[in-house]
Amino acid sequence: MSLTRSGEEGYWKLSLQGELVSLYEAKKLVTAVSYNQTNLRFLESIILNRINETSLPRSIDEDDLLPSLELLLKEHNLLQIGDFKNFWQSLLNSFSLQSTLETYIKISAIHGFSTAICLIHPKGEANAWQLAPLSFANEMRPVPINEFNLLFQSLKKTKNKHFSSSEAKWSWLPLNGVFVADTFTYKKYNVIWINSREEFLPLTDTDHKRFAIFSRIMKIWLERLVELEFSDIKSSSVIWLIEHLPFEIVIKDSQDRNVFSNALFTEDNLGSMSWINLPRGYRLGYVAETIADDFEIDAFQKQKVLLLGDLFNTLRHELSNPLFGLRLSAELVLTSVDDEDFKLIFTQVLSNIQRSQNIIHNLSKLYSGEQTDTNVDLLAIIKESITLAKSELKGLYVDVSKIDFNQSITVEAKPVAVVQIIFNLIVNSAQAMKNLKEKAIIKISLELNSPFINVVIADNGPGLPATIKDNLFKPFYTTKTKGHGLGLALSKDLAIKLGGDLKYIPTEVGTQFELSLRKIL
């Protein structure tokens, strides 16, 4: 996932594995989320770590600069030390170029300017960009490169960097009044830093001194922030997402500690969160509102579901060779040992390898649609599912009973698909009941509901909260911290493909699912 700038069209694109979603369109759908300032510090540390990892240009030694700046400001009576420390702290707290500009102009008591903008030209590129504080414009606007260069060169030449927007040649700048500017040349960027005041009175000496001093500070900060703004590093997209998500989120680190949240989470809604994996073991949890155009989540899910087909193919290929090697060598050992125990062991080894190969083979067949529908003995299928799930069912009593009829039941279905669905439901139940105090039971019963036959899988476990109901069959929705939450979505999908369905039946106690299949008369 990355946030990249589209040079030609002048807007930003959020790109997910090649699928582009226009940020402008996105912003129409979302509203800014207000956030808690203190929590942002945690986020800042994630981002700064990220910056360290991607080796952005380091600032000039801040420890040296700070005391001398303080002294300078004090000498010129420009600032109370306390105010300056606040300013510095606010800078430390901001994590994006725009929010930094916002901070800067808010501290109007100390600098006397009403607006600050940045003009940025990534060296060698055809476009330059203009960035204003968040309250003025939340988009980066393109700037014609010749205008940028003209201004840049003029500024470098003149000593008195004091201009008025009434001068014709600067009328393209979105500023009113007088402005003062400085130029910064970084390794990969040329930046023009402009402060303006909405009056036409000339700037005083004090104004100039103040600007000069703060300019030195901003030169350091801007280098880091411009790099952050323009590079493709993922933290910028994380920041954007966090600032613009229209729902409540929490970010947990790899130790499951909360590092950021924009809402108060109670036990209730924590239980119904969905999770997205972020880089470095972080996870983003969200409680989605039912927004029809919920593009963020749809985009994620769609991408992941699309990847499934690829995943199975990759899995199949990647596992095929190692398993083959294992099989050959096991065969070899089996024919070379005399010891009966070893013979037995290696017979088992071969059997396990065969089982593994079958699983992959069947999985990929499921997705290639090769398997034809056959007439399936339902009871046999159920028994096979239970056998497969055996390791998950340790200590549980599984009751298989049929109701209302005693002839054999045949359904039209792909046997492997039915096994997969029932297996998944059994395993889900088993996992939910791992800590059950009383005896855990999964009851599988059959109900005739012509022309369908329903396989009902019910357990006496803790059940599911009502809030989860709507999200149950969504891909990658999970209440487990492990696992990918794929099972139910896939199962329902398969059931529908078989001409039936998979439904969740709310019950007072435990959890109940109903798989309907077409009966063959």
Binding site: H317, S320, N321, P322, L323, F324, G325, L326, R327, L328, S329, E331, L332, Q357
Partner: protein
């Protein structure tokens, strides 16, 4: 007793096949790299050449292309065996062009596969 070259970068598969064929009385050499195989084929005579298609450095097809120039198409047809896990139609079609036997990985019938390798 045949002199067999196995070109396979999956060590376990190569070692196992080597041992199995040795037990059946053959002299077996294994190489992991396609380039090394090409060099070897230029200087050493092999009765049978078993070549995996997907190697780390180059493809089995590249080896065949290089070899047919000086070994001749007939030798390729008679004594080369292509081993592959891929069953895409394009791959199979290209393999068939050379006229040699194709073995699908994993082997369904081990003894039958070994016979094909031996060239019986």
């Amino acid at each position: 007793m045949k002199k067999i070259l196995i070109i396979e970068d999956e060590t376990l598969i190569a070692l196992s096949l080597k041992k199995m064929l040795s037990k059946r009385g053959h002299e077996v050499l294994t190489v992991e790299s396609g380039h090394e195989a090409i060099g070897l084929l230029k200087t050493v005579h092999f009765d049978r050449v078993i070549c995996d298609l997907m190697l780390q450095d180059i493809s089995g097809f590249d080896i065949i292309e290089e070899s047919r120039a000086y070994l001749g198409d007939d030798k390729i047809k008679l004594d080369f065996v292509i081993m592959t896990a891929y069953n895409s139609s394009q791959v199979l079609e290209r393999a068939r062009e050379y006229g040699c036997k194709i073995l699908s990985k994993p082997f369904e019938d081990l003894n039958k596969a070994l016979s094909v390798i031996e060239g019986e």
